[in-house]
Symmetry: C2
Subunit: 470 residues, 2 copies
Amino acid sequence: MTLDTLRQAFSGRLHTDAADMAAFLTDWRGKWTGRALAVAQPDSAADVAAVLRWCHAHRVPVVPQGGNTGLSGGATPDDTGHALVLSLARLNRVRSVDTHNNTLVVEAGVTLLQVQEAASAAGRLFPLSLAAEGSCTIGGNLATNAGGVQVLRYGNARELCLGLEVATAEGELWDGLRGLRKDNTGYDLRDLFIGSEGTLGVITAAVLKLFPVPAAQVVAFVAVPTPAAALSLLQLAQARLGAALTAFELMSDTCIALVEKHVDSARLPLAERSPWYVLLEVSDSSDEAHASAAIEGLLEAALTHDLATDAALSSSLAQFQALWALREDISESQGAEGKTIKHDIALPISRTAAFIASTSAAMEEAFPAQRLVVFGHLGDGNLHYNVSPAVGHTGPEHAAAFVAQEAAMNRLVHDAVAAHGGSISAEHGLGVLRRDEAARYKTPLELKLMRAVKTALDPLNLMNPGKLLG
Amino acid sequence: MTLDTLRQAFSGRLHTDAADMAAFLTDWRGKWTGRALAVAQPDSAADVAAVLRWCHAHRVPVVPQGGNTGLSGGATPDDTGHALVLSLARLNRVRSVDTHNNTLVVEAGVTLLQVQEAASAAGRLFPLSLAAEGSCTIGGNLATNAGGVQVLRYGNARELCLGLEVATAEGELWDGLRGLRKDNTGYDLRDLFIGSEGTLGVITAAVLKLFPVPAAQVVAFVAVPTPAAALSLLQLAQARLGAALTAFELMSDTCIALVEKHVDSARLPLAERSPWYVLLEVSDSSDEAHASAAIEGLLEAALTHDLATDAALSSSLAQFQALWALREDISESQGAEGKTIKHDIALPISRTAAFIASTSAAMEEAFPAQRLVVFGHLGDGNLHYNVSPAVGHTGPEHAAAFVAQEAAMNRLVHDAVAAHGGSISAEHGLGVLRRDEAARYKTPLELKLMRAVKTALDPLNLMNPGKLLG
């Protein structure tokens, strides 16, 4: 196929050399590698639509790509070489800020960090926050409905978006950039595109919700005896703090020990170890004294009721950051400890403790040569139920044997998730990694409804084919 | 057509007598009246699916109906008599409560008040609240994505729902009753059915989000000189109060004067009249003293900056209710003042003051014999931009002349809404009332996408045909 007509169809870059394309053909972890016809980097939303019109006319599949930081292989082309990779990197403008409407209009290729900075420059908060924020893009965040640490208070990417601009499979540009809190004039196309992983259309811009910057934030790092105690502490915290409770993270002692081992500055802020810890954050619209008083009152009640055994509070920005780092450095520390098998699962919050107890017992029996590395956003029922090799088995000579157990571990964990009414992808999306696994747990009717929607909006199956739906 | 096979197909009631059917064939305001083949009241979700299978097999259109309290004619059949009215009234069970997950599973026919009461009995808050709550049903609230007074803090019906059970056009039952805060395993079917006004399927049950009950609530009734000042007060309130600000309502002096005229107990709680008032509510997780201090601090700042001229605070439950009644009784008081022409519009919050200024000037010039009755949820950009006949023209002899202006008034108001980037249906839905009007302001592409979704899920166009989409 000649690419000359494509080159003339839009303004932007078109990469066809192997060296130029390489970075777009492999995900950042190097887990998936594919081939492509070319990599297009249009300059504007209209150019994205033009590229899609060309693809539609020539029946060329399209793989949209943002910051290429996904964990599920959703932005990597397959190995046929038939697809065009469509990078949104050059759609990098903050189009407008409206502080009285508390909204920001940004293009898809703006990084999450740049969105946060634009909000901050306007005296507002954009609360979506996750590890890849320096390089992931807001278009990718919306296409995968990203989560993160403050979902408890502010919701997922879905809840932070009021409107979208989307280039359709036929290459038309839908202007749904409405900055409205209420709009009941038809089907919710916005939420259909959000989380569809580029399989229904390409998000080119979005209207995002902004929030007031809290006057003060305090975190507590709390030793709790069990996940069940952590759950009771969550109930107590919600009752006492309401919307001021902006994060509630659970992590096992194994997680914290890994961070202490691999991060020089990390140290447990408590005198004694505990099997489990909670990191909870309070954001206050009054001042730090009020925040600290609220959190101290909570902890006193928790100690009295044996929900907690000890706690450390932040009383400076440095302490605030150091306590958060213990939670945020878990993933990277686990990565330094040999191969990792990840499960990004969600459960009804009420089931989390029972899930951990029964699943961990089953895992220890079925796979004795492993270590459970369990942490996550307990306030949302979202656990990163991860596995590392046992101590002494982290070297490369053990990697193959460890990874060979992945499918069996997935089956055990995901069967347990399904039995507890949970989800096998809480915030990472399906991509290719969890596509078939998700289909296994969905009813035939739900798959049929999803396929009907897919066919309606992308009848030629050109939009990121093979991702999300088989 | 013989209804014998339908009668045998499901458990529940089937009304075919004119007297039994009458109440289902007219909306509660008596604005629309239709005819029907019969009225079915199935006993369970499985029976709803059975009714839909029969309708699908016999190509019978279906008009789902909840509490029949809608304002847009979405639940009334047309006058052909071909359709079956499907009343969800007998699906009235609270299926389960999970206080640790903060969720409630209810069937579609449970009234909103019963949902609130079930939440309250479990020590939780279900924050959706609107005038018809005693008779509207949660199924209807979700089908129309209802709003109300606390959307500012808790969101619309959409944001309060985690999962759905839906009977499809073919009569299959989709179990999407997931009680999860995070679930990225495919297309967002839940949000597609929410707000679709029964045109894609019939909601039979839902998982609803519950919240902690606030420790204290205080309202302030504030005199403000202009809508622009009200907007600045909103900014200030959000910055100082954050999520504790749970309602922010605007109303003109015309509204309050109507309430004082038609409600015996109503009286302005301020020494002097003002052209505009704001009712703002603070919900506090600490105690009443903290709530009052926060609201007093805010009002002091507002008075200093000339954003407000006077204010009354509630210091008892009776005062709290009396101040709220001034806002809540506007609709009924307007109804007592002759015919009413309603516009349920949403705007970017930042545009509300400019919209009111320019549109009200244009309305007064174009339609001198009228009174603007403007109030609404300013915190959401949602105005009820209503019109009553001028004083001295409220009698029945003037009704026809007043109503004859409705289309022209709609055009003026809705053109202004479109020019300001707003929506012509904020929380009432389209039904038949706003169906063609919405199509007028949407792009051909958006209508095409909506039709593609409709055809995908209801290829025979049997689900509430003629509503929402033409």
